[in-house]
């Protein structure tokens, strides 16, 4: 039993990294614009689907297929920003209209994916095809290591981007005070497009990492988006590191719920965690953002 619990926690951490990356995607857009993008899950789905198509259908090597997918999905993020978010943003739409529009966009993207790729679940080969390592009696597979290592790498890169590049600093300035940033000559609206590109790329990356251990299909977006949102809430909305921590906590909690309650109610468990946090501690575990 104890082994099972430990093994579940381990796999929870792996999935949790993915939730964390998606949660960071929410934060990047929220910080740049105050918008909660409910189409975040579509990026995750597209990441897996595009990589699969490039790899399995057109025979590209996996790394190349993945890179291509990330670029294409980032571009899709910009398209979403231009076509849906920008017109509403310019009109000063309410937060609710923005949520509804992005949720509708999520459904449109999902349905387009269904038309283009069919309803069959797809999967990718694991990145390193070797038997799992045995560490302290636990089986640690290589995809888990890939997920953890890549997630940490992405976080370090993001931190560097926000702290040491001019663009990253400009985006941070926007998150602190948009009007002041505009007065300083920062092109605030280009930052919005950039935030969508970055967030979409993060989502795609998460989707590519997770697909070999699960599968991807046209309808995986919404569950992933909700998990990512829960991660962001648990971490205190708008804090990327908090979102990542929140993601891991959620992943572990969900894995334990499967052990003790059975897999049927793992989504109910996650959603209940969300409600609990919203009711009791809406500012997240780590206190309010900013």
């Amino acid at each position: 039993m104890l082994d099972l619990v430990a093994q579940s926690i381990l796999s929870g951490i792996g999935v949790g990294c993915i939730y964390g990356l998606i949660g960071i995607g929410f934060c990047v857009i929220y910080n740049a614009s105050g918008i909660v993008n409910f189409a975040q899950g579509a990026f995750v789905m597209m990441g897996g689907m595009v990589t699969y198509t490039a790899f399995a259908r057109y025979g590209l090597p996996l790394p190349l297929a993945a890179a291509l997918a990330i670029v294409l999905v980032a571009f899709a993020g910009v398209v979403l920003e231009r076509l849906v978010v920008r017109p509403l943003w310019n009109r000063g739409s309410t937060m609710f209209v923005m949520i509804l529009a992005t949720l509708a966009a999520q459904i449109v993207i999902e349905r387009l994916a269904l038309l283009a790729a069919g309803d069959q679940p797809r999967t990718l080969p694991v990145f390193t095809d070797r038997p799992p390592l045995r560490i302290l009696g636990l089986a640690v597979n290589f995809q888990f290591l890939w997920i953890v290592a890549c997630s940490l790498l992405v976080i370090v890169l993001l931190a560097l981007f926000f702290s040491s590049t001019k663009t990253g600093k400009a985006m941070r300035a926007c998150s602190i005070n948009r009007d002041a940033a505009a007065l300083q000559g920062i092109p605030v609206s280009r930052m919005l497009a950039l935030a969508f590109a970055l967030s979409a790329a993060l989502g795609a990356f998460a989707g590519i990492l997770i697909t070999p251990t699960q599968y991807t299909a046209f309808n995986v977006g919404v569950p992933f988006a909700i998990s990512g949102f829960i991660a962001a809430i648990v971490g205190g909305f708008g804090r990327p590191l908090g979102a990542f921590t929140g993601g891991i906590l959620l992943g572990v909690a969900q894995a334990l719920a499967i052990v003790f309650l059975g897999s049927a109610f793992k989504n109910v468990a996650a959603l209940s965690i969300l409600l609990l946090f919203l009711f009791v501690r809406p500012t997240g575990l780590l206190g309010p953002a900013k």
Binding site: F96, A104, I107, V108, N267, V268, L275, F279
Partner: protein, 339 residues
Amino acid sequence: MMNSLTSIWAEARSNPLLLVLWLAVAALAAYVFVNGGYLMAVLQFACIYVVFVAGLNLFMGFTGQVSFGHNAFAAISGYTSAVLTATYGWDPVPAAVLGIGGALACALIVGYPVLRLRGHYLAMATLAIGLIAYEVAVQWDSVTQGYMGISGIAPLGVGRWTITSDRGILIFLIVVALLSLLMVRGIRRSRLGRSFVAVAGSEDAARALGIDVARTKLLAFLISAGYAAVAGSLFVHAVGFVSPEVFGLHMVVLAFTMLYVGGIGTIVGPVFGAVIVALLPETFRGFKEYQDLAYGAALVLILIYTPRGLVSLPDLWRRRKAAQKTDVQQTSARQGGAA
């Protein structure tokens, strides 16, 4: 009743587009009633959604709140109706009453903590409630039969007297839909309705005038949950079948599309929204997978181009002219003040 009908007529005359829409809906209903056919199901479906959307409109359009989770209340009453009649052989009326009561009880329990939230927290919490209801419908298969769904649900009726013919069901649903609209109208013109719109306009000003904002929101939430629950029970008894998909996220998106097509915050908007959107997939008949695509795309376009819906189009035009006039006045007033 007569009185309100004549005042509806007066309203319709003052807005020609409204009049045209009412005539079109009435003509459609008459045509369907005489000829039957597949449009019968479409119109029945639209009537049920009129009830659901009218309630949502009360909570969102009037009171200015957000809910992505009212499908949960439709699911609670719908499944209660289905299980009690199909599995336990109850009569539809007590089953539906118990279902609606259960949905209201749940709304009361979740309403208090949920309504303290605002903005995207409120949106997410309500979305979570709707998704939990869906998950439970899927997973609790000993009762709900999971994805398979429940069939053999008793038709509408009392005891031996049941409505089984398509025409009978249609008339019954039209009456229920019109009644629910009249009720919304009554509420909107009452002290209660004014306090709803006041809360949407400015919570601070409402409180400064002695309105208990938390209570007002809860009341709006409960009434709209009641509407959703009625729609849920109507659906399962009219169709005779229920599955989790009936009350899934799809229901929410569909309802929002109807709400925005018709015009959020207007009294009759839900009718036109529901009828037009229900007819929409008929244009795409045979391409089932295009339906949600069309709803989603339509919703995005409406949000961008006519955020106040179809019914408000002439109104919007008048308002824009009025707003231009006040802008001019305001500028001159400000200049006067500065001088």
